[in-house]
């Protein structure tokens, strides 16, 4: 589904970025991506989503290179940032229609999906209002719905549970499982390690732009340990032993 091969990206005039990252996400994976603040999680996710370019390496989505065919790759994915800066001058429904138009979702399909997900997330009544009137959590929900309306194969989320109420968090986890059961995959970053431990089957830990651990959850987290203690150990020592 997603293959990242030795990707390096540094910001101009800064030493920050990511160096030589390689990992593979297969269909059915819920892949957690964890690391301290400024480690490079968002940079990596944005490179996969086609928002940032990168200097070295390659990224393939379903075997298609992000560099050579970015539009085809973007048609298969959906990206939800940590801070949903959406078009505040649009109403919720206008924004959803805009995204659906870009992804050429038929009128009938989008009606069904928007109705379903908006009801699930309980923001249907607010869809006619300007996004500027939305709380952070409502914007987050709207961003999630916009990502789901075109049925992406790979869902990329940056700290998706921040700002979501408990019911919406449960809803999102169910949606993530459903996508994976239908042959899709999830790649998301989070600071909420117990959630990652419960729902992810694979995890990668990044420290100062470099990958220090990556693989199946049961391989990374030793018996008797938690993801949290493993993370603290890895970040301190640099790798899992």
């Amino acid at each position: 589904m997603l293959t990242i091969q030795k990707v390096t990206k540094h910001y101009k005039g800064s030493s920050k970025g990511i160096t030589d990252i390689s990992l593979t996400i297969e269909a059915g994976d819920i892949y957690g991506f964890i690391g301290h603040n400024g480690a490079g999680k968002t940079t990596m996710l944005k490179c996969v989503a086609g928002i940032h370019g990168f200097e070295k390496g390659e990224i393939f989505i379903d075997g298609i290179s992000v560099r050579e065919n970015p539009i085809l790759c973007k048609q298969k994915i959906a990206y939800i940032p940590d801070n949903p800066d959406l078009y505040e001058y649009l109403t919720g429904i206008q924004y959803l229609n805009f995204i659906a138009d870009i992804f050429a979702v038929s009128a009938r399909d989008r009606e069904g999906k928007i109705k379903k997900y908006a009801d699930d997330f309980e923001i249907t009544s607010a869809l006619g209002d300007l996004i500027s009137s939305y709380s952070h959590g409502m914007k987050q929900k709207l961003a999630i719905i916009s990502a789901l309306v075109h049925e992406p194969k790979l869902l990329i989320l940056d700290e998706p549970f921040v700002g979501l109420d408990p019911k919406a968090s449960v809803m999102l986890k169910e949606i993530m499982r459903s996508i994976c059961e239908n042959g899709g995959a999830i790649f998301f970053s989070t600071h909420v390690l117990d959630v990652a431990e419960r729902i992810c089957n694979k995890v990668a830990i990044i420290k100062e732009g470099a990958l220090v651990a990556a693989g199946r959850m049961d391989e990374i987290v030793q018996s008797g340990q938690t993801l949290e203690s493993t993370f603290m150990e890895v970040v301190k020592n640099g790798n899992t032993d």
């Binding site: 101009k12 928002i51 370019g53 429904i93 229609n97 995204i99 659906a100 870009i102």
Partner: protein, 528 residues
């Protein structure tokens, strides 16, 4: 309160003209860009100094030395007023950081005054740039007394106060009126544009006199100009008179009046500050939507629709870009009502000026196309289009298309009025239709090209992008200046058939437009 004003003013001024960011950024490219822009800015100031010095010399040669200080003060004040009027609302009542400021133990007046002082310093530059060279030329040739110099120095510092106060009052009034309305941005833009039109039309009628009076006054140009300026802006006459006559008392009275007006407006705005902000930043939410039948549109149409919604959501964006096309319509009405000969009196050229009307229309209609800020205005939401499966060309074409569709109704009305007014022949009709259309198209594509080269995504206030960015300056005036430059060969080479020159101009402009379009379609948006 004084301490608060000092503290808040310090933080307002710390990033004046982006200085703080420049000092602290580690991005070498940003520093180089800032340095280049500073050099360009310095060049513009030098050109302005030379220009002002030049026309001041012209005034003195014509025997109008005694009206020069009055004229300079009037010009400075008008420039400050028009530059500031559309932005005071968004600077005084800025949304960014409002929650943080409101939570602090600060007097409303201190917040308002600190923001006003920031605008004062920004506009002091105009005062220096226009007054200093003019006064220097006056002093060199007319050798005034010592009192002239002392009053001039004092007055230069206080000239921005009245126009700034007036602009703040108008801006605050418009903001206050529209703050409680649903479509506040659109209404604010409409009121601002209407105000500009009223001022422009009003000032042209104020300057008209009956022929007998005009003939009398023409024999005394000094009196004529002083009266004309005094009719439009009396403080310029008072301050200029104080300067010329060395009248310290009059100078002090003018300053006292300016300061009193300023304090009165500040007091009024301060009292209503939070109420206006709450109305402005509050949003209208009905919470009663039900999902009904939805429609599917193409990506280009959807992007273009979004561009229109973005455009009309910002009063600053609308007022700054719609003035040109509106002036095009006013120009056409003027030609229809007064006849082309009357309008052409303002262009004293020994040539067939009627043939230049297409360029004149193009000049005004192509001023400040929305494309010169449309990339920058994506701001924090830029990630959205970058993550979408749509080509760069489609994204950028939607912005150009929006600009063209916006100008189209004004172009159409202007053309219809000019056809009626000028009753052109076949070829004249072709040029009247084609030249403005091609120059408008060029300016929209040029504006886009420049904004791609000079985008600004981090901004506190839309004003800094729409009015004060390099892209707005260069991209916004490209078509305007080009239209002016293109008439030069037609005037300088009357022996060459004008139709041939116009054909060549059209071909060259279209070629340049196509080349720019191809170039911007290959831009990698990831690098922006």
């Amino acid at each position: 309160m004084g301490t608060q004003i000092k503290l808040l003013t310090k933080w307002q001024l710390i990033n004046l003209f982006g200085i703080n960011v420049l000092f602290h950024t580690s991005d070498k490219k940003a520093r180089q860009k800032a340095l280049s822009l500073s050099i360009v800015g310095l060049f513009v100031v030098i050109v302005m100094l030379i220009y002002v010095g030049g026309f001041s010399y012209g005034f003195i040669r014509l025997g109008l030395g005694d009206v020069l200080p009055v004229y300079l003060i009037a010009v400075t004040s008008l420039v400050i007023f028009f530059f500031t009027m559309f932005k005071t609302g968004s600077v005084i009542f800025q949304k960014n950081g409002y929650d943080n400021i409101s939570a602090l133990p600060l007097y409303q007046g201190a917040v308002v005054i600190s923001r006003f002082i920031r605008m004062y310093f920004e506009n002091l530059l105009f005062s220096f740039a226009i007054m200093l060279p003019g006064i220097a030329v006056y002093a060199y040739f007319l050798k005034p007394s010592i009192s002239f110099y002392s009053i001039a120095v004092i007055e230069i510092l206080f000239i921005p106060l009245v126009p700034l106060t007036a602009a703040t009052l108008f801006g605050a009034l418009i903001t206050a009126i529209t703050s409680r309305m649903r479509h506040k941005s659109l209404l604010g833009a409409g009121l601002s544009v209407a105000l500009v039109v009223v001022i422009m039309v009003g000032s042209t009628s104020l300057g008209s006199y009956d022929e007998a009076a005009l003939n009398t006054m023409i024999h005394s140009m000094t009196d004529f100009m002083t009266q004309a300026i005094g009719g439009i802006y009396p403080p310029a006459m008072w301050m200029g008179t104080a300067m010329l006559q060395g009248d310290f008392l009059l100078c002090l009275l003018c300053i006292a009046g300016s300061v009193l007006a300023f304090l009165a407006v500040i007091a009024l705005v301060s009292v209503k500050f939070h109420a206006i902000c709450r109305g402005l930043f509050g949003t209208y939410a009905k919470h009663n939507y039900q999902v009904g039948a939805l429609k599917q549109n193409s990506a280009l149409l959807s992007l273009c629709t979004r561009e229109f919604k973005r455009y009309f959501a910002s009063s600053v964006y609308v007022t700054n870009t719609i003035i040109g096309p509106v002036m095009g319509v006013l120009l056409s009405i003027g030609i229809l009502v007064s006849g082309e000969e009357k309008i052409m009196e303002f262009i004293p050229l020994q040539t067939n000026v009627a043939g230049l009307i297409p360029f004149l229309l193009a000049c005004v209609c192509s001023m400040m196309p929305p494309t010169c800020s449309s990339i920058s205005l994506e701001g924090k939401e830029w990630w959205i289009v970058k993550s979408l499966p749509v080509s760069t060309q489609t994204i950028l074409d939607s912005k150009v298309l929006m600009s063209l569709l916006l100008i189209l109704p004004f172009y159409t009305v202007s053309e219809v009025l000019l056809m009626i007014a000028l009753q052109p022949g076949f070829l004249e009709t072709i040029w009247l239709l084609l030249i403005p259309a091609i120059i408008i198209l060029f300016s929209c594509v040029f504006g886009m090209t420049i904004n791609l080269k000079l985008p600004v995504f981090t901004w506190e206030n839309e004003v800094s992008v729409v009015k004060q960015s390099a892209s707005a300056l260069i991209g916004g005036l490209g078509g305007f200046l080009l239209a002016g430059v293109l008439v030069v060969p037609i005037i300088l080479y009357p022996e060459v058939p004008a139709d041939l020159l116009k054909l060549l101009i059209c071909v060259l402009l279209l070629t340049a437009t196509v080349m720019m379009h191809r170039s911007y379609s290959r831009v990698n948006l990831q690098e922006l």
